[in-house]
Symmetry: C2
Subunit: 186 residues, 2 copies
DNA sequence: CGAGTTTAGGAATGAACGTTCTTGACTATT
DNA sequence: AATAGTCAAGAACGTTCATTCCTAAACTCG
């Protein structure tokens, strides 16, 4: 039930989904929704929480466990599981987070976890060059932490472009090309 | 007038903005809006077109003219002009493009121009190494085109994170770190 | 100075919104 | 078997939505 709601909320904006849409799509009936979640906003937050736990968190784990950056990017932007999992995150970050602080609070730790996973995948290469591998990083710039933040941004940006109409093949190719550029510099 | 509408539409979702909001924010009155734009959707498309022309296009030009990748990223994510210009693009891509084909059609060439600008900035480094500089690119991967697509995605992703609550300093640092990693590999 | 055309302002419209209330059926306890 | 309690189903509520219509003022041109 919450999964169906998450699916629906990932397709259109919060205000673009009506309670009638939810009732129809979920099969369950109006009273139960208000009994269980209190309001439309409550249902939305439950759906977002569910999606972050059951879709995004496993994805983050797989990114963290990826052997190298190319694999991490392939996992995060190429697989169908990523599409379902990240669409609601995308919408929540762009549309809801600026107007609903609780949504922003829910998103922040997940994005931080994403950064950490990206740093783990990217750090596997940094260990071999002169700079520090674990924490702190190298030269004058922000180091690994900054790159990890940027990588999370890239993943979200690529999914955004896929959502806005770019072909899946182009998106995969872009991820692969960036990984190639980033990993072959050591 | 269209500029004010673009500002307002960049803050909340399309369905989250009412005609009353627009009338109040724009100062101009209801009848004029319908006389001039026909409908809420017409006004939205005019506002999007205006923003793409007057905010995004100049930004793309400056990215294309940037001396190196670091400067390009700084221009695209760090400056206040980028914030105002890219927020509506972000919202349109995530929320409207999937449900309004005309919005998707309006966005596609702009994103392509962004890619081309990113390729110009990134290509200035590729010219110095073994691979091809101009068109076609190098090895087994997608080459410069793919990296350019990914860079546009990164820019949008960083702006998305700024919108979702990340601090501006972190965003700037992330862009700088990525540029450092990408440009110091030749 | 006055007729004709355009423009602003705001009330009115039906539909759709989120939320609540009423109704009818089912379950469990005595 | 009767009654109290729970739950689904949908009608009903007041509000707000996008859009239209009507009236009065302002401007144009002879």
């Amino acid at each position: 039930m919450v999964r169906s709601a998450a699916e629906l909320f990932s397709t259109r904006s919060y205000d673009g989904i009506s309670m009638d849409d939810l009732v129809t799509h979920l099969g369950v009936h109006r009273n139960s929704l208000y009994k269980t979640f209190g309001s439309k906003r409550g249902l939305y937050q439950a759906a977002l929480r569910w999606s972050l736990e059951h879709h995004v968190a496993p994805l983050v784990d797989r990114v963290a466990g990826a052997g190298d950056l190319a694999e991490a990017l392939r996992v995060a932007v190429g697989e169908p599981a990523a599409e379902a999992g990240l669409n609601l995150l995308l919408m929540a970050a762009v549309e809801r987070a600026p107007v609903d602080p609780e949504v922003a609070d829910q998103l922040a730790p997940v994005l931080a976890a994403f950064d950490q996973a990206a740093r783990a995948a990217a750090g596997r290469h940094a260990e071999h060059d002169g700079g520090g591998g674990g924490r702190g990083g190298g030269g004058e710039d922000g180091g690994e932490d900054g790159v990890a933040l940027a990588l999370t941004a890239t993943i979200l940006g690529l999914r955004l472009r896929a959502r806005a109409g770019a072909s899946g093949a182009n998106i995969d190719q872009a991820g692969a090309a960036l990984a190639h550029r980033l990993t072959h510099h050591v």
